[in-house]
């Protein structure tokens, strides 16, 4: 018989109280399709109005609701309560981050590391980037080299599962490193040398033990562990002068002779126009 009621064991923390974090048990009646996020919302609207967490899109896109659910980093919005097969579901903030309040972790370290690795296209044609007149050339094969890493939603689940990130304050962690690889592998980018200067030090991928937990917990199916190994290979080959040098993809005219396939409906009129 399916469980109809579960206890949500929630980690509560109020910095203004001065006390340590504590657990609060709240019984929740399961509804069909109920996610952990739905359960939290029900609790906030009822028994515990002060319960605090971070969420936005409710569909696994924004990456805001990363939490430590039943001992594993997950997104609350795409974790079905029924799939946990547990009468007690523990919900805590992502480990290895300071707690701001209740289930809200302070992700500043993650975003600082991310920003330090220049996660954007680095090219000489700034004007073309800001006011594009044409397109950067890229083949489907070139796109495949980084595509899966671009699915990352920066939820922080991989970092909270990483044993090295937990112990080494200098280590950038899986997400920032995977994003560095995402841009290094992008044929439109020319920033390998700039990123390599940062990645060669303690912020780089050198202390990864390849535990692989980052890839296991990623809710989007990204494989940061693979990105880190590719990053190491490219950096070492680059330092040895064995990496094939390439120029960023050139700017080319957009194709003019394209025709829409008849089975694909015409795009609607844009609701927002560029000023």
């Amino acid at each position: 018989m399916a469980t109809t009621e579960v206890v949500l064991r929630i980690r509560r923390f109020d910095p203004s109280s001065g006390g340590p974090p504590r657990w609060e048990d709240v019984p929740v009646s399961l509804a069909p399709g109920m996610t952990v996020l739905d359960a939290l919302r029900w609790i906030k609207e009822g028994p515990s109005p002060t319960l605090t967490w971070r969420s936005s899109c409710r569909m696994g896109v924004c990456g805001s609701c990363g939490m430590f659910i039943n001992g594993r980093p997950r997104l609350a919005c795409n974790t079905q309560m029924a799939d946990l097969h547990s009468t007690i579901v523990s919900v805590a903030p992502l480990p290895d981050f300071p707690i701001i309040r209740d289930l809200v972790p302070d992700l500043a370290r993650m975003f600082d590391s991310h920003a330090a690795l220049a996660p954007y296209l680095i090219r000489g044609d700034r004007e073309e980037q800001e006011r594009p007149t044409r397109e950067y050339r890229q083949t489907p094969e070139e796109m495949e080299r980084y595509l899966q890493f671009s699915y990352c939603i920066k939820c922080g689940c991989c970092l909270s599962a990483c044993p090295t990130y937990a112990t080494d304050p200098a280590y950038s962690g899986p997400m920032p490193l995977a994003q560095a690889q995402r841009y290094n592998a992008d044929g439109r980018d020319g920033g390998f040398a700039a990123r390599a200067a940062v990645l060669a030090g303690s912020r780089g991928p050198w202390r990864c033990h390849y535990a692989g937990e980052c890839s296991r917990v990623c809710p989007k199916g990204v494989d940061p562990a693979r990105a880190i190994q590719l990053l190491r290979r490219d950096l070492v080959l680059g330092a040895l002068g064995l990496r094939r040098l390439r120029r960023p993809a050139p700017v080319v005219e957009a194709p003019r002779e394209t025709r829409r396939r008849p089975d694909i409906p015409e795009a609607p009129t844009p609701s927002v126009t560029r000023v």
Binding site: A200, S202, W206, R232, V236, A239
Partner: protein
């Protein structure tokens, strides 16, 4: 920069250890196939065989290379583990120096032992 350089050295040394350790295991455990390295017959660890191998330049060089590669690989790995414990910067620097001195000392000691063995067997 140092992290990348050390990691590259560790991987390169690991590759060398794999190669030389494979040769060592072959000599030690596949003596039925490579009996040429055990000219005195009997077991590979018999004194006469050890002396016979130690007097050859190939084995002397192999021992020193294996020693160096194992020390580089192992001590860089040990450094990584110890630094992950998050020591203060001063202690980290002291640790780097200590491991460097320990590695150099062990290398000199091991090389001297291999050299002495090389000379001893030449003289016997």
């Amino acid at each position: 920069m140092r992290d990348q350089r050390l990691w590259t050295w560790q991987i390169a040394a690991g590759g060398l250890v794999l190669l030389l350790l494979g040769a060592h295991m072959t000599v030690m455990h596949l003596d039925a196939l490579v009996g040429a390295f055990n000219p005195a017959g009997g077991r590979p660890i018999d004194w006469a065989n050890v002396v016979a191998r130690g007097r050859t330049v190939t084995f002397f060089v192999g021992y020193v290379l294996l020693l160096g590669a194992a020390l580089v690989h192992g001590l860089i790995g040990l450094r990584g583990i110890l630094l992950e414990l998050g020591p203060p910067a001063d202690l980290g620097r002291a640790l780097n120096g200590l491991l460097l001195v320990a590695g150099a000392g062990l290398f000199v000691l091991g090389t001297w032992a291999a050299w002495a063995s090389f000379l001893l067997s030449r003289g016997s």
